[in-house]
Symmetry: C2
């Protein structure tokens, strides 16, 4: 991430470090500190802070509500990891592995409440609107996760359904983070709406980039197994499109790999990646990512604020677009 963002990241890190979530019983609170310390890019609170700066300069005054979106995001990770039976998150054991499932359920519940607690640190008159937008986003994220789980049992997921699922599961939280920042800065509603659109569009692009990087990325930079989605038959944008486009022998080979119970992982990744290349899935995905980011940039451009003030947000979106890990 560029140097522009270091002061924000530093203050966010400090605020998270210093937040006294609670002490007793330790089984409830240690997992909260643990998952928040695993790091990550702090994208969502960054978006809130940068959106705030469209209207006001004193971004340090909204660190707590900005943290709320990070705490909420990590709550969803803690519960999703149970549901996905994921053993590792950011190179470390997941909470339900390091402790147990009950602790991960309950500690996650407490985390969701703590997110609401952090939201209380806003002007009282703004609170109803903020709780409302937060609730709407939070249930949509739950809907997205459930739809994603439902996809596991389906073989007929369409591209449109997939895009709607990732909008709910991932993009609405980016949109809400931006809307939160804009609302706290007192921007007019038409601008906070545009910020939300900006966030949802780049959010979908961001998730599609994730799908792409899982297959086409430098192993050293990526930090996790390249091709993990292929091995697990995860219904990503790439696979759904490949299944839609492939014909004849190619279609047969692809569905064979998906059906295989016993296989060499490396061989499967290589074979399916070759099919993606053959079907130009990479180019297709790149094009769709660009479309989503373009739509996002368009929304940002429509906000009636000088470009100089919007520059950091634009730079942040560019960073998300160009990231290679």
């Amino acid at each position: 991430m560029s140097n522009t963002f270091q002061p924000y990241l530093a203050k966010l890190g400090e605020a998270i470090e210093n937040e006294p979530f609670g002490q007793h019983p330790k089984e409830l609170y240690e997992p909260i500190r643990y998952i928040l310390k695993l790091g990550g890019k702090r994208l969502r609170p960054m978006l809130a802070l940068l959106a705030y700066q469209l209207g006001k300069d004193d971004w340090e005054s909204i660190l707590k509500p900005a943290m709320a979106v990070e705490v909420f995001h990590n709550f969803t990770l803690m519960h999703d990891d149970i549901m996905d039976e994921a053993p590792i998150r950011r190179g470390q054991p997941t909470v339900h592995k390091r402790w147990d499932e009950n602790i991960a359920i309950l500690s996650g519940d407490a985390m969701l409440v703590k997110a609401y607690d952090l939201l209380l640190d806003v002007e009282p008159k703004l609170l109803p609107a903020i709780i409302h937008m937060f609730n709407k986003c939070a249930v949509e994220v739950c809907e997205g996760q459930q739809i994603d789980m439902n996809f596991e049992r389906r073989s007929d997921v369409t591209v449109e359904e997939y895009l709607e699922m990732i909008r709910l599961k991932t993009a609405v939280l980016l949109g809400m983070s931006l809307r939160l920042g804009g609302t706290l800065a007192g921007l007019p509603q038409k601008d906070t709406e545009l910020l939300c659109t900006f966030g949802e569009k780049i959010g979908v692009g961001f998730q599609l980039k994730d799908d792409l990087l899982d297959v086409f990325s430098d192993k050293k930079k990526f930090g996790k197994q390249v091709g993990g989605d292929i091995i697990a038959n995860k219904k990503t944008f790439l696979l759904i499109n490949a299944l839609k486009i492939a014909e004849g022998e190619t279609a047969r080979i692809l569905t064979d790999w998906i059906a295989k119970k016993d296989f060499d992982k490396e061989q499967k990744v290589k074979a399916v990646t070759a099919i993606y290349e053959q079907l130009a899935i990479r180019q297709l995905t790149d094009k769709v990512i660009q479309d989503y980011f373009d739509q996002g940039y368009q929304a940002l451009a429509s906000i009636d604020i000088p470009d100089s003030r919007k520059a950091p947000l634009k730079e942040f979106a560019d960073y998300l677009y160009h990231r290679d890990k």
Copy 2:
């Protein structure tokens, strides 16, 4: 429950029935409607409505925030049932049995968010105080549940620790429900504090009564297996006190029954109940229940409002005190 309360219960039932939690995906929303339809005594929203009536008459105007505490309570049941591996709740399969654990986790999460959504239906100026009291209560309930789970692995739980656990797990929500009602009615803070104390005291008494009824109740009225806590070695107020008081041969027999892996359930219930009788645990528990209710009544009496207005709340507490199921 006496006829005094039927109009409230009827309106609450209607409001819960008509609340459109959401539709898609159905795996997220059906469990919410399912668990809320299992019924229960709606104690917590009843307390909110009755507390509101200390100050104002139009109790139908606060049905939504009153429902929030019922939705929250059922969220905790949905997640607790996963953690406790409970197959049955109110004679029906629990959500994680009827659907699966992942659905119970996620649907519970959505339910918690929906509780916050219902709280939005209050005067905006009251919202910060209401979200604050709700958050405080919600994390305390989580703390209570975690402490309860920790007790399962301990054999040295003291009476004081047990009382604090049930205060957190059960009583604070009764206290908060009353405080919520009083706050919405615009009562002064000293009175909402007293309402909260009233609720916490009768809440502890209520849970102790639960412990007692599990052992000493009429099977037909009780609706679940009498002695379930004894069979499961659950550390209730009765068992903790029996372990503390028992000496010599009695202590040996009691600890033997606790240690036994293979036993006839009926025989164990009979034997442990006999020990409780012998040690006068029933009388001891009755006395402590009475003390807690008395402390609660004292707090209620200290509220500077005519007794006639407080009569329904007093009657409701009497009902909780005298219940036999």
